[in-house]
Subunit: 305 residues, 2 copies
């Protein structure tokens, strides 16, 4: 097995990516990241999932929180609030540098793919972190009350309170060429424990991506443990979007055409035949490496046919 | 005397503005600020002179330094440098909030005049601080070697080292309507101790401004003390642009059509007939109020005819 490609969104999937990055031996790991969460905040381009992956692999992310930069300060945020700027999005001072520099690079004509590669290399991260697309693909939440709210506003500003009726993607472009190349060359695709509706589906919905993944050996880690989401608003979404109680098996139905083997938590395997039960709670770094090793072990056998 | 209008650039003039703000009794003080220094840095609109005035009147500016915000931190600057961004322009974290918010407001269609008023009010400053124009009017330095360098790059990045052959203004618009109104209503115009070439002349060169000032009683404070500039590169500019040694009298020639009475430092009056000698070194706040009171006293008599 030479090439491993992982699809991920925010904190949960990134923890698996972190484990894979330290557990891949001879394999080349490529990370494909959801950009549906990306948005403009105060004129600055913010890419929450890309940043979570970048900061985590650079060793900057707080182990328990997953987003932002450990020990960051919030001086500019306070000064912005004093000037009357909205302050619902908590941007730290070090974090802000990423948004300022990325926005400037994009305005200078650099692609998001190239800007991400430049920044990750400066931060000492050498493995490819690929935004799913160089074109904006904003996820919009349609609530049961009929409102349409950009995803970050719904998640952070409105604390994911309004019930979700539909998840839209206002996609404007194709998958990035590097994403398509990575999938074409993949010996194994890993789907991280991320929200299927707002983290994984935006990637799969890009032209040709789902078909490429379907051709490949594919292992996934459940984002649900004992009926609860590892993180975020997935349980409520399963209810309003699919009319079901959240479970590993219900999530698995969403990828029935793609995933060969599911990793689920101890006790969750009964509802999903052929799954592998293990400890999939990986908040701590040593737990991430352990689960990643198990995933890679299974993936190698699967890829070998 | 009801309306006092002061023309100013950076640190020197701002110190006089600070004194006038605390010394005007019944008069309405209006500050007209050079925007020729304004530039885009990392995609953010930076207005050094406006910020110096705003921070000083809000009580944020370090008394001795004059620019930036006292006690500001530089976390984002450090993180930007790590990402590979140019770091020659020292932006503090609190200061950065001003640039981010202003850029966002301008991008939303707000004029610089309105954005400045919004911000100054949020910072507790009620007197009108008027950018000279809502349109960019970048000052470009042409060096004796024939290079054309945007002013802040010349001043800060290149430390004002290259000799100046000409000062250009790449003006694109008129004076702001509020500036013209303020000058039309002025009972006294005060020209602050700022660099005539790069701080005051950009204001005067806007359509109708010089003519309006010429009609008014006008008092000026010398930016030269005993042949030295209060601050900045004025002495070298007097030599390369005018071929003279810097003196209060040589500066006065530049405004011969405008200024009725000059305030010069003790010992400088001999070279400038009709000038008033006093202590014009006003780094400290109490000194600013004292000089401002003298200027206003003279101005009131002048305005009374």
């Amino acid at each position: 097995m030479r090439n491993v490609v992982v699809l991920t969104g925010g904190v949960g999937g990134t923890r698996l990516v972190d484990g894979l990055a330290s557990s891949c031996d001879d394999e080349q790991l490529t990370v494909i990241v959801n950009t549906g969460d990306d948005f403009d905040h105060l004129g600055l381009r913010v890419c929450p999932d890309l940043d979570t992956v970048m900061y985590t692999l650079a060793g900057f992310a707080p182990e328990e929180r997953g987003w932002g930069i450990a020990g960051d300060t919030f001086v500019t945020l306070g000064a912005l609030a004093r000037l009357g700027a909205p302050d619902w999005f908590q941007v730290g001072d070090r974090d802000l540098a990423t948004h300022v520099w990325r926005t400037h690079r994009l305005a200078s004509g650099t692609t998001l793919t190239d800007a991400t590669r430049e920044m990750t290399r400066r931060l000492g991260v050498t493995l490819p972190i690929l935004p799913m697309s160089d074109a904006p693909a904003p996820t919009v939440i349609e609530t049961t009350e009929g409102q349409r709210i950009p995803f970050q506003n719904w998640l952070v500003e409105q604390r994911a309170v309004p019930d979700v009726r539909r998840v839209h993607s206002e996609r404007t472009g194709p998958a990035s060429p590097l994403v398509l190349d990575a999938l074409a060359d993949a010996d194994l695709v890993v789907i991280g424990p991320s929200n299927p509706f707002v983290s994984i589906e935006p990637i799969l919905a890009l032209p040709n991506v789902r078909a490429l993944v379907a051709e490949k050996p594919c292992v996934a880690v459940s984002p649900i443990v004992a009926g609860r989401a590892v993180k975020g608003p997935l349980v409520a979404m399963m209810r309003t979007l699919r009319g079901v109680d959240a479970s590993a098996a219900e999530v698995a139905r969403l990828y029935a055409d793609l995933v060969d083997i599911w990793f689920v938590h101890h006790g969750d395997g009964a509802t999903l035949s052929g799954s592998i039960e293990t400890d999939i709670l990986i908040e701590r770094r040593r737990e991430r490496a352990r689960l990643a090793a198990e995933v890679l072990h299974t993936g190698r056998r699967l890829a070998a046919g």
